[in-house]
Symmetry: C2
Subunit: 200 residues, 2 copies
DNA sequence: TGCATAGCTATCCATATGGATAGATTAGTC
DNA sequence: GACTAATCTATCCATATGGATAGCTATGCA
């Protein structure tokens, strides 16, 4: 049979994802990828098809992980769960060493200005996931009477999305998750404030 | 005396600012700057000192303009003014052909990951301006009784900042100001909803 | 033990980058 | 009209980039 890969393909793509997360696409060279992930420049070409395909693979891996572990999916009808989702962001239990660089997909979206179709597809998936998560959560809250009857779910989904984006950008700007603490707490307070007055 | 510049220095820096706005720093070459602004590569070196100094000059110019024309400065104690500031963002009267690329300073902050001190200084100035603007506006509203007495100004400043950032990122992601309409309207609705119940 | 397969090392290449420089050109001044 | 100074044009340069290729090496089955 053949010779075995120097680094596990799975480990390799995780490492590549972390690199793109921090440096973005254009500011990361294939030689640096080789040095820091162990993926040979040869393998980068023959196995992954080049730098851009590897990048897209990293985006997909990011989205898969995000979907399972990080996306807002609280549908227990509790505003607190939404608030906590924001609070956790500034003090994450998982992967703090990469999440301090913000959100890989937001970063990529900013970098490519919506001019790369492949990146756009991933961005669409990402925004759908986040919007859908918030909508499901707020729908459940409204259904259980956690907010007043005239609460505009669609509008507040957009508000939550904007807040989530802002929080991630602020964190990236400083490179520290904790730098988003004030903002995260403020958003959490806003969300909790949506509780039906009688229930407070 | 000496020969006169091919393009007005003022026109040149405006054009350079627009280019950096769209393309960012790393993805814009000096030859492209030369072609699209009229700034000779020679002049870029001798007069502006190189690509990075020109970029920083563009950032400063952006901030100066932002401070005068775009920063939130409504201190009339009216929540509507704050709401309108967001609504205007998705249908700007001024410079729609560049504002559709988001906010130059946010873009730069994302690109440099807080690792360039000169860029950091500009980012600090920017965030101070926005936070200060929102705080002044909300303070005035609270003072005139436009919101309830227990309204947490500091927290809602952070909420507005996160919303403003999110809005600009969404717009950049699509390259169209109008793409931020739903989000802008939602944020405006949120702000108007802060009005003291008795006043609604 | 030998052979086939796939990965690795080490180059090579065309291109693009930011920057430097030398000679031509244009302006205002004496 | 000649001189001076700043800008322009046209190169040149060292470096870095993504990608391609040729020969070496390790792996596991026959």
């Amino acid at each position: 049979m053949s010779r075995s890969r120097k680094v596990e393909p799975e480990t390799a793509i995780q490492a590549a994802m972390a690199l793109f997360w921090k440096h973005g696409y254009h500011d990361l060279g294939t030689r640096q990828i080789e040095k820091e992930t162990g993926i040979t420049r040869f393998t980068l070409q023959t196995v992954y098809g080049g730098k851009m395909p590897l990048f897209l693979k990293a985006l997909d891996r990011y989205l898969d992980t995000f979907e399972v572990h990080a996306a807002p999916t609280m549908s227990d009808g509790n505003l607190d769960a939404i608030a906590a989702w924001f609070e956790t962001r500034s003090d994450p239990v998982m992967f703090p060493e990469v999440t301090c660089y913000g959100c890989l997909l937001l970063n990529s979206t900013v970098e490519f200005v919506g001019e790369n179709e492949e990146v756009n597809l991933r961005a669409d998936r990402f925004f759908d996931m986040v919007r859908g998560g918030f909508r499901g959560a707020l729908d459940a809250v409204k259904e259980t009477g956690g907010v007043s009857a005239d609460f505009d779910v669609d509008a507040m989904v957009e508000v939550l999305l904007s807040a989530a984006i802002g929080l991630n950008i602020v964190i990236r700007a400083s490179g520290r998750n904790a730098a988003g603490a004030d903002m995260a707490n403020a958003i959490a307070a806003l969300v909790r404030g949506w509780a039906r007055p009688a229930d407070v």
